[in-house]
């Protein structure tokens, strides 16, 4: 019994975190919003060099043969640093695609995306990806990218998809969905951690009425509640990765925790936090989008209850 990251997992998290911290992920995200994807794709490539894209692909299929815990560890970093691109979709596809050319491409770092209606009706970055898929009536098919819809998180370019009619070899679509749900939950924890960290920094430095606002209990207690919520979200994500609880339990709780972080983070920043120019906004909008992405909280609560009653 050892319920903590292994040294290897810790090292992996640090490698990803260090790389992203130096990579100007915020600049890349802002360019991505403006339609210039070069910087974001450059970061995608560097994450792929670290193996993030191929974590769930078995070694015989050219991947790392990692575990869902490894996936959670990596995605928490992606959330913390606001990585752009269809990473959650990558977790889905690397589990869903049967061995073959399509999976090889994913394992080699191709940007691929997928829509899984009804929970995921559109394909993230459908116009950027080199391969697009859709699950229609339980069948994985290749898809075309249509109209791009804009999310409150401008980095999420959501493409309407249509089937090309070509069925793709698939396996374990349910497990793939849970892997994506888990990845989303981990990203939410990471994004929530970032909002909390930035908020703590801010309230220690901003003064009103002659004192740091962080010395007021009204501020302290709200941030303490965020600390508590995130501290209990992470074990659920890791526990779900180990099969101790349904992935849906982790997603529902992580969404609540990150959302609390976002609401609180905005409140303790005051008006500056409400501006697009201030970088916090990127995380606030990311969290709002991820709360309902890959299944709404209500959907996941329903799934948890089903698993308990049956």
């Amino acid at each position: 019994m050892k319920f903590e990251r292994t040294d290897e997992q810790q090292g992996f998290a640090e490698a990803i975190g260090d790389m992203l911290a130096k990579a100007d992920t915020v600049g890349a995200a802002r360019s991505w919003i403006d339609g210039d994807t070069a910087a974001g794709l450059g970061i995608w490539k560097r994450l792929a060099d670290l193996g993030v894209n191929a974590l769930l692909v078995s070694e015989e299929d050219g991947g790392l043969g990692g575990s869902l815990v490894d996936l959670a560890v990596a995605h928490e970093q992606l959330g913390y640093h606001l990585a752009v691109g269809p990473w959650i979709e990558n977790a889905y596809l690397s589990t869903a695609l049967a061995a073959g050319a399509e999976l090889d491409a994913v394992a080699e770092g191709a940007v691929a995306t997928v829509a899984v209606a009804p929970q995921v009706p559109r394909a993230l970055d459908g116009d950027v990806a080199s391969a697009r898929y859709a699950v229609i009536d339980g069948t994985l098919v290749t898809a075309t990218s249509g109209t791009i819809r804009t999310s409150i998180d401008g980095t999420r370019r959501l493409a309407d998809v249509a089937s090309t009619g070509t069925v793709v070899g698939s396996r374990e679509l349910d497990a793939a969905f849970d892997a994506a749900v888990l990845a989303t939950a981990a990203q939410l924890v990471g994004a929530g951690e970032r909002v909390l960290a930035d908020s703590v920094t801010y309230v220690k430095q901003r003064k009103q009425f002659g004192r740091e606002i962080g010395s007021y209990q009204a501020i302290k207690h709200q941030l303490a509640d965020v600390r508590i919520a995130l501290d209990f979200a992470r074990p659920l994500v890791h526990g779900a990765a180990l099969g101790e609880v349904p992935a849906s339990a982790a997603k529902a709780y992580a969404a609540d925790a990150a959302y609390l972080a976002a609401r609180t983070g905005l409140q303790v920043h005051g008006a500056i936090g409400y501006t697009a120019e201030f970088d916090l906004s990127l995380w606030l909008n990311r969290i709002r989008a991820l709360v309902t992405a890959w299944g709404t909280p209500a959907f996941h609560r329903g799934r948890v209850l089903e698993s308990l009653v049956n």
Partner: protein, 389 residues
């Protein structure tokens, strides 16, 4: 990262499970805050102790089995899953015993621990005073030196002392240096509650039962042999258990997981009539699982030599709010029957309501989390400074 138990841990789990299955009373015992229930709870402790199951983590000489932290969590999980009786001895075994192990003399350990393990002597915590609640260090009850008799004379008043109505011994802090202020000059004393000069006055709680009591001290003599730790070091001695109370030992995950499982069962029978409670049921179950998993993380860190520290405050706020949420969901499911006093849900709810108040209120815990974990600035001078550590 893995949550698998070793062969010996699994064997321990199986032994505990089968013993409890054979021995847990079929009908819940009457409340321990009644004379009849008190006696039955003490009997139950003796039965546990005969099997060395009352204090599994203690050394063998004083009634334990030297169980590891992991085994302790396993024991607790099984204990609550089996629906076994509440622990009338809990404040002694969880709050006082760790101090006696760390600060007590060998003579004190030999004299106090075995009868605590068997439940023969039940201990009450006497820290709070009418004017010293959250600001415990402002306590005023005094201890005056009596060289002639070789001891101390206690005066003053303690209050809210759980189970003091029927308990045999008390443990508490007194100001032994009259010129001292706040944390300095406090000493930790142990005293029989039937000593000359002690008056115990029961206080009825929300549900009408006398679950705690006031204790009045009128020239109560305590021999030197019953001073715990060094004279004047009472604050530090006491604070070494505050972490226990807030952190792991007072509220093991087993309690909440068992309640969550009962809640799911209740949903199966009552959910059709109260579909709006669905989210509350699910969230309570998820919360209990979060607490279980979080605890395994804590256990891993402690087993690797880490310390609980201020993280105990995170624990405390979470379990106390979870406990209320779990029972509120149960009450919602019961509908108009919820208010009936004979249901375990109302009983559990009333008990849960006190969680955010005792063991350091949740406001104090949030101050600690904000200042010690997040590193936010302390309150300005003059305002509350002396939070319980």
């Amino acid at each position: 990262m893995d949550l698998t138990l070793s062969a010996s841990e699994l064997a321990f789990q199986a032994e505990v499970r089968s013993w409890l299955a054979a021995n847990v009373p079929a009908e819940p015992l009457p409340s321990m805050d009644t004379a009849e229930g008190w006696a039955l709870h003490q009997e139950w402790e003796a039965k546990l102790a005969a099997e060395r199951l009352s204090v599994v983590s203690w050394p063998k000489e004083v009634g334990g089995r030297e169980a590891s932290l992991i085994e302790w969590v396993i024991f607790e999980e099984e204990y609550y899953r089996a629906g076994a009786p509440g622990r009338v001895s809990q404040n002694g075994i969880f709050l006082l015993a760790p101090i006696i192990f760390d600060h007590g003399t060998p003579e004190q350990q030999a004299r106090f621990l075995p009868s605590m393990a068997t439940g023969e002597k039940i201990w009450a915590q006497a820290w709070s005073e009418p004017e010293a609640g959250s600001d415990l260090a402002s306590l005023r009850s005094t201890a005056t030196r009596d060289d002639a008799r070789g001891g101390w004379v206690l005066n003053g008043q303690k209050t809210w002392s759980s189970r003091a109505t029927y308990a045999h011994w008390g443990f508490g802090l007194f100001r032994s240096d009259p010129d001292s202020a706040k944390h300095a000059g406090l000493t930790y004393y142990l005293f029989p509650l039937d000593a000359d000069g002690i008056t115990v006055r029961p206080i009825a709680q929300l549900d009408g039962e006398a679950g705690f009591a006031e204790i009045f001290f009128d020239d109560v003599f305590v021999p030197d042999a019953d001073v715990l730790g060094a004279v004047g070091a009472g604050w530090n001695v006491a604070m070494s258990t505050a972490g226990n109370e807030r952190g792991l030992s007072l509220r093991s995950p087993g309690r909440f997981c068992a309640a969550a499982d009962r809640l799911v069962e209740l949903w199966k029978t009552h959910g059709v009539d109260a579909p709006q409670t669905r989210d509350a049921v699910v969230d309570a179950w998820i919360g209990a699982q979060a607490y279980r998993l979080f605890t395994w993380g804590t256990v891993t860190r402690l087993a690797d030599g880490g310390e609980m520290g201020a993280a105990g405050s995170i624990n405390k706020v979470f379990w106390s709010e979870l406990d209320i949420a779990l029972h509120e969901a149960g009450l919602d499911l019961l509908g108009p029957d919820a208010e009936l006093l004979d249901s375990p849900w109302m009983d559990g709810f009333v008990f849960a309501l006190s969680g955010p108040i005792y063991a350091g209120t949740n406001e104090i815990q949030r101050n600690i989390i904000a200042e010690r974990i997040l590193g936010l600035p302390r309150e300005p001078k003059g305002a509350q400074k002396e939070v319980q550590k």
